[in-house]
């Protein structure tokens, strides 16, 4: 009897907590991340960021060692794939003049300063993702330094992601590899437009909407398209094509792109103070 009464009370507690959760979720959706909930998140991020920065610098060698151990198989596979690719390139006709010209063009593009007309804020990466689902990093610059939501983030090599959260002194950047990330891109040589979507950590981006007849080369450079209302300035290198194949019966070509920025080893980045036109 007592157990049944207690079980009934437990169910009431659970129902109350479920309803409270749904109310909080609704408030968050209606406030679009701002208001009280936004302030709570900003405050929590600001309060813990010194601890997180300190822990990151102390524990980084241990984390690197663990990553090296658990990713050993992948590294071996990657090594073998790279060796095979080098051999293939050495023995193929890709070394002809037109390919070299294309490579030179890509090199020139990489050497150009990215979006030179756009003011930028240099920032240090102070922590890696907390969640097992989100590919985000935290920067030591925030709203007080001029960082705003949706601003693009780059390294000297290319696109890193965009700012998705800002507090007074910190900002959160969604990396291009996050499954929630989608970037409008253009294949540098063919001019083909597509959307580069994140597929998770250490996984190449996938290009959507590439026609089966499109002419796509391996290692071809992929840059931001810069179309009207695009979230990124034009011609920022995003990655290089690592796979391009047309499967029979498919409406679009399967194309994968490896980001040019070393997303696993980010230290310093630039936030571009750029707003869509």
């Amino acid at each position: 009897m007592a157990l049944s009464r207690r079980s009934g009370r437990s169910r009431l507690t659970l129902i109350f907590l479920i309803l409270t959760s749904i109310t909080v979720i609704t408030l968050d959706f209606r406030g679009d991340g701002a208001g009280l909930i936004g302030s709570l998140r900003d405050g929590a991020a600001d309060a813990l960021s010194p601890v997180r920065s300190a822990a990151a610098s102390v524990l980084e060698p241990v984390g690197d060692a663990l990553a090296g151990v658990t990713a050993y198989g992948e590294l071996e596979e990657e090594n073998a794939a790279l060796r095979a690719r080098v051999a293939e390139l050495e023995g193929s006709e890709l070394r002809d003049e037109s390919a070299e010209e294309e490579l030179d063009e890509a090199r020139r593009l990489l050497e150009l300063e990215l979006a030179p007309d756009v003011p930028r804020i240099n920032a240090r990466v102070v922590s890696t993702p907390i969640s097992n689902f989100e590919q985000t990093i935290e920067l030591d610059r925030g709203a007080g330094d001029g960082v705003g939501v949706d601003m693009p983030v780059v390294t000297g090599a290319g696109l890193v992601g965009r700012v998705v959260g800002v507090s007074g002194s910190r900002s959160t950047v969604l990396l291009v590899t996050d499954p929630a990330s989608a970037v409008g891109v253009r294949l540098a040589r063919s001019g083909e437009l597509a959307v580069a979507s994140g597929e998770g950590p250490e996984v190449p981006l996938s290009l959507d909407f590439v026609d089966t007849e499109a002419d796509v080369d391996l290692l071809e450079l992929v840059v931001t398209d810069g179309l009207d209302a695009s979230m990124f300035p034009p011609d920022i290198p995003v990655g290089r094509v690592s796979l391009a194949e047309a499967a029979p019966g498919q409406l679009q070509r399967r194309v994968e792109v490896r980001p040019v920025a070393e997303l696993a080893q980010l230290r310093l980045v630039s936030v571009l103070q750029w707003r869509p036109g």
Binding site: L17, R41, P179
Partner: protein, 168 residues
């Protein structure tokens, strides 16, 4: 000292571990979910009522550091901790491995619950091929940490006798 004075510092410590320490120590790219672990530990030691309440609290703390809808973790963690508490009440003789195995299954279940509820709320990116790896690894890592979490939760939560069998 009572729950009111012991639980807040435990939660604060857990937040520091969850946001600053364990994200640096990843196995196969996955970190332990300390706040989910505490919710499970509360269910195991305190029953469904207390488990759901602590799960709701730790879930809200987790939501402070995520881009997903605020309250999503609170919902998932309270559901999981309630289920763990209800399960723990049915066990008459808990062997040494029961809490560890329960934590493994409940933590993996918590990750899946979070992803599925997120999917319902339009967070399609949470459900991917990687989800199985994340759930399995969180389960294993949390199970490895469960003896410490159970001890900490027993210390923090007021241990007045609760009628019915609950893992202690």
């Amino acid at each position: 000292m009572t729950t009111a004075t012991r639980l807040p510092p435990l939660l604060l410590g857990a937040v520091v571990l969850h946001t600053a320490v364990f994200p640096q120590l990843r196995l196969f790219g996955v970190a332990a979910d300390v706040l989910l672990l505490l919710a499970v530990a509360a269910g195991l030691t305190g029953g469904p009522d207390r488990g759901a309440a602590v799960g709701f609290g730790t879930g809200l703390l987790a939501d402070c550091f995520l881009q997903t809808p605020f309250g999503l973790s609170a919902l998932a963690y309270s559901l999981v901790a309630y289920s763990v508490g209800a399960f723990a009440e049915t066990i008459l003789h808990a062997g040494r491995w029961i809490p560890v195995l329960t934590t493994l299954v409940a933590s993996a279940g918590g990750v899946l619950t979070f992803a599925v509820l997120g999917l319902v709320l339009g967070q399609e990116q949470l459900v991917s091929l990687r989800l199985a790896t994340v759930a399995a690894m969180v389960g294993i890592l949390n199970a490895a940490l469960s003896p410490l979490a159970l001890r900490a939760m027993r210390w923090a939560v007021d241990s007045r006798p609760v009628p019915g069998p609950v893992l202690r």
